[in-house]
Symmetry: C2
Amino acid sequence: MERHKEKMEMLTFKADVKDIDSGEFFVTLNNKDAEEMGLLEHDRVKVSKEGKSITAIVQKSMSLVKPHNVTILTRGAMALDVKNGDDVLISPTGKPRSVGIIKAKMDGKTLTSEEMRIVVNDIVERRLSYIELTAYVVANYINGMNMQEIKDLTLAMVETGETIDFATGPIFDFHSVGGSPGNKVTLIVVPIIMAAGLIIPKTSSRAISSACGTADILETICNVTLSTEEIKSITQKIGGTIAWGGGVELAPADDLIIHVEYPLGIDPYGQLLASVMAKKKAVGANYMLLDIPMGPGTKVPDEKLARRYARDFIELGEMLGIKVECAITYGGQPVGHGIGPAIEAREALAILEGSTTPNSVVMKSTHLAGIILEMAGLTNRGQEMAMDILRSGKALEKFRLILKHQCWISITGRIFEPAWT
Amino acid sequence: MERHKEKMEMLTFKADVKDIDSGEFFVTLNNKDAEEMGLLEHDRVKVSKEGKSITAIVQKSMSLVKPHNVTILTRGAMALDVKNGDDVLISPTGKPRSVGIIKAKMDGKTLTSEEMRIVVNDIVERRLSYIELTAYVVANYINGMNMQEIKDLTLAMVETGETIDFATGPIFDFHSVGGSPGNKVTLIVVPIIMAAGLIIPKTSSRAISSACGTADILETICNVTLSTEEIKSITQKIGGTIAWGGGVELAPADDLIIHVEYPLGIDPYGQLLASVMAKKKAVGANYMLLDIPMGPGTKVPDEKLARRYARDFIELGEMLGIKVECAITYGGQPVGHGIGPAIEAREALAILEGSTTPNSVVMKSTHLAGIILEMAGLTNRGQEMAMDILRSGKALEKFRLILKHQCWISITGRIFEPAWT
């Protein structure tokens, strides 16, 4: 950083926008300009235009970029609202503060709330290169995080993203640790909860390690990409949603962190807890049920690990003001018959429409929904109540409302008549 | 990897060479081509042309790259000898084997010789993304390496680089841990050793943490960028060289690893040992003297650490067949008066020409040179012998030969007459 001190001026460059997406914010400067500004490769610059600014990592080129020009890739250009030929201002900027904090984490130190906030903020503002972001993730993976750090990480992820504030409450939520094939229960659990008059703004993920996630299943029959505004208004109107979590900016740090976890095949335990709970906290959940599918071949092979998950989620929930209950379910074989988005959607729909098979799906769905109904204090025989709601057709009604409100067809004003009814 | 299996075909693309250097091997494909080949961002492809091939990381673009075209950056284009408009073959390739090995290292496992060889080979072949390379470096930093791993790493780094095989021996070498300002002693030590009739093909580094490295100092008066062939032939002719280590491909894995260590400000201990010794092993050193400048503000603040360095370097040397001796010197204040490349070159030269000041530089140089003379069995009063050689002007003679042979002036055939004689 020292070497930048003498040359902190801000210079004007002509933008050359290139449609490449490399994940990071890169800008390419002519070697001569870079030298004059005292910039080496991998140094950072602040690029700004009319009040908007990004921090980008410098690449250099002798011939591709003319002096006083700068190449900006798609992602950066969109963030700055810059078009080809526009003028942008560039000034050198030092290393972000979080680099020293990441070093401390590598050295085995425990991070403070403030340090965690700085790191997460730099991640979301894309001030960290992949090298630095990877160092953070690997340090967390190897050295671990204590509960206070996990709580701080969760809150920092909530603070740096969008949140939904429902005027009424309480808000219920449901999450499955996943890793168990055929797990289409969310499509049945959520409408049962809604039919009981409870509020459940559920966000779901796409496939990570299994054949498909809830978002993939539901997407075969309706739109799942909702904005936070849409999740809020649909939930206020009908009591719930099943949206794709990646389509909203709830805890955006998480998506960026996953980007480096995925190629390494690691999912640091503390990060996993924080990821799940940040998204629950962001929608203002007061109660949450965690489904932990346990069994050979799942993420949770044995009861010892299942109990650790349960204990830690409950403890973290308490620290965040969310009452968590956990259901350890058997995940050693597929739930139901179908595996794959379309076939799982059909299976879930048939059950909502009255089918009593596959029994495993009916039993698991009503079991889980029953726990939530009990958490809400509506009954102390949850599964029975859930079964009654399912058999009455009221869950089907709620599911159809979900389809109607989430489908683009509804947006066009046309009456929604799914082809399969 | 699974998903590539069905689509392992090799397709022809027209190369669009872009002069950008981003450190990694990147290629950009049109979204449509990438989709057809089952490629996601950050997947790897093998790019080949007439027998040459590289492994590159995929970026995608909707508009910048036309279908059946591929953008290749400078570094990749040079490696493949590809020009704009040339045809290249591209086929998907799975994750390199080292990714699983790096995961094992993160999990605290000890790597085998074979695993270390696979990792270093993938680094040198640039098969690893920065994410993966960073994970390797951070895992080594946090979990450490045992001596066997350090030995395996050293040998793997030697194997993947160039080596110099001198027909005669023994070969002597000298290394300073560095971090002590004003440390121009190499410029005096090496010619003294050469004047004693010993062989010392010394490679030196540029500044990392201090104002200048030996290569920076010598470069103010002569060329230091030599090929391995040049180091070999000059050494065979005059007994030694002082070349820039970064100019040759001795242990190239090291340079790539430094690229991710530098922005994080870490230098894993085992990596440091392996880096130094790999370069010594690559020039076939039989004897090596290690100077460990100790004192506040240096890399080695106290005697405990100095002794650890000494012990570990000696042990690693034994494992590699290099006899190592260590001199713990006082590094708490600058050696001599001048700090900075040109002024340090002048100071060293003045001493070679007969100046007895600064006394600290004269004493340190002859002390270190003396140890090497004793290691060679030429005397048991090394410092006295070194002082005699220095005073006799024979070291100056050797230094002038170094200048003559390394300078581009000598290559042109013109008589070398430095301006300052």
